[in-house]
């Protein structure tokens, strides 16, 4: 198998998922709306004091993204399971990991778009001052969602095919994501506060390490998960 053939499969799957999503729109709109709703509710929990809101902003944002994102992962396999499309997908020749990589890319784009909306809402609702080190913040957001989507896409391949998918996916996923959430929240919080202790870069390195380890592990293990 050449790299070009693999890439052809990956992009075909990603494109297919994104087209399905774009034509229905209902999925994206409701998931993004849920993310913003979550932020409003966090606002009630921590507000209305402006400083308290700013202190809680990083944590609230990441939790809103986590809760909304988890709904997207199961969806990406559920559309395959309806009318047995997954079985046919597995009939095609080629490496199995390309299916995972394709879904990973479409989920990454899906969650990034949702993140853009949730972050925009968060900046307004939580009265966030955008720091001068905003490129670092962008890197943190990106690495954070890569970690989230890597394991989310992987675990959803199992959870979406069980009896209790709604509860099982978060139950498996959330404890595994503790390092991602801690690192992403701490780095975001530090950067929003001006990174006085210079701790953000250590957290970003942890995020990067986590992403690489679990991306490689998921690519290798996916075959064992999808074939049964």
């Amino acid at each position: 198998m050449t790299w070009n053939e693999d890439w052809g499969r990956i992009s075909a799957i990603a494109r297919k998922d994104l087209i399905t999503e774009r034509r229905s729109k209902a999925g994206f709109n409701s998931v993004a709306a849920l993310g913003v709703t979550m932020l409003v509710l966090f606002g009630f929990a921590f507000g209305p004091d402006a400083q308290a809101l700013r202190d809680a902003a990083a944590g609230a944002l990441w939790l809103a993204i986590l809760f909304a994102g988890v709904l997207a992962f199961n969806r990406s396999y559920q559309v395959e399971l309806e009318s047995g499309a997954l079985d046919e997908l597995l009939q095609y020749p080629g490496a199995r990991w390309t299916i995972y990589a394709g879904k990973l890319i479409s989920n990454l784009i899906f969650v990034s778009l949702m993140l853009a909306i949730v972050v925009a809402a968060g900046i307004v609702l939580f009265q966030i001052h955008i720091p001068s080190a905003w490129p670092m913040l962008l890197v943190t957001l990106l690495l954070g969602i890569v970690g989230l989507v890597t394991l989310g896409t992987f675990y959803a391949a199992m959870a979406s095919r069980t009896r209790a998918r709604e509860v099982l996916l978060p139950l498996l996923l959330f404890p595994m994501l503790v390092p991602v959430l801690l690192a992403a929240m701490s780095a975001s919080k530090a950067l929003l506060g001006g990174d006085l202790m210079h701790e953000a870069s250590a957290w970003i390195r942890l995020l990067l390490g986590y992403d690489v380890i679990f991306l490689v592990a998921a690519l290798f293990a996916f075959e064992h998960v999808i074939e049964v």
């Binding site: 503790v178 064992h224 049964v228």
Partner: protein
């Protein structure tokens, strides 16, 4: 599916429990009260071995999960599951005993320190593992999936620990025989072995039960298909 016979294991179980009673008695009677904590120190002999056994059990889960993915034998899957259940039990016990210790020693039931928090996260990871096993009916799928989830969970343990440690730390630095008064070392070591025997016995017993369940399932399948029972 061959169902193991009890045989010598029954005596091993009796020995393991008798040894545990002996080492506990030994440790409690021989160890002097701690300078700061007094007799509170005696919980050391259950809390610390329980924590060690927790980590050891999850290492066993990783080993059998990896071997299952490699060789695909049902036996390895059942052993990994048995070790996960025993590990989760000891994990819960570690947390509870730690709280009972923490309340008088630190004045709080819980604190968000690195080792406490990562032990709790570990517990949650393996609760997820056991829930997955519960919710998947197909035996091969259950084995394959839980092997992957078990292996990924085990990989995550050091990362979780490191991240929580950076986040906050308060737990006392790990003791080792050099920093510990010799009066406590013997009791701790003896109890670690006692807990190890109990762990082996529990994993084996849990494995026997799982094998019996699988054997009944196979038999029921054979009857349903109209074939002969083996």
């Amino acid at each position: 599916m061959v169902v193991p016979r009890p045989g010598a294991w029954r005596w091993f179980g009796v020995f393991a429990f008798a040894f545990l009673i002996f080492t506990q008695t030994l440790a409690i009677l021989t160890s002097p009260p701690d300078r700061d904590m007094g007799d509170l120190e005696k919980i050391l002999y259950v809390h610390v071995p329980a924590a060690w056994i927790t980590f050891l059990s999850f290492f066993v889960v990783l080993a059998f999960s990896a071997r299952y993915l490699w060789k695909g034998r049902e036996k390895d899957d059942l052993l990994a599951a048995a070790a996960a259940e025993v590990g989760a039990t000891f994990n819960g016990l570690t947390l509870l005993l730690g709280m009972i210790w923490g309340r008088p020693a630190w004045g709080v039931w819980w604190t968000w320190d690195a080792r406490l928090t990562s032990t709790l996260v570990l517990f949650l990871i393996f609760v997820g593992y056991l829930a997955l096993r519960e919710f998947v009916d197909d035996a091969q799928r259950r084995a394959q999936w839980s092997a992957v989830v078990g292996a990924l969970g085990a990989i995550n343990v050091p990362i979780v620990y490191m991240s929580v440690r950076w986040w906050r730390t308060l737990h006392q630095i790990q003791s080792n025989p050099n920093t510990m008064d010799p009066a406590y070392v013997l009791g701790l070591r003896a109890n670690a072995f006692a807990f190890l025997f109990i762990m082996i016995y529990f994993i084996h017993q849990r494995y026997v039960i799982a094998s019996l369940q699988r054997a009944t399932e196979h038999a029921a399948e054979a009857v349903a298909l109209g074939g002969q029972q083996e």
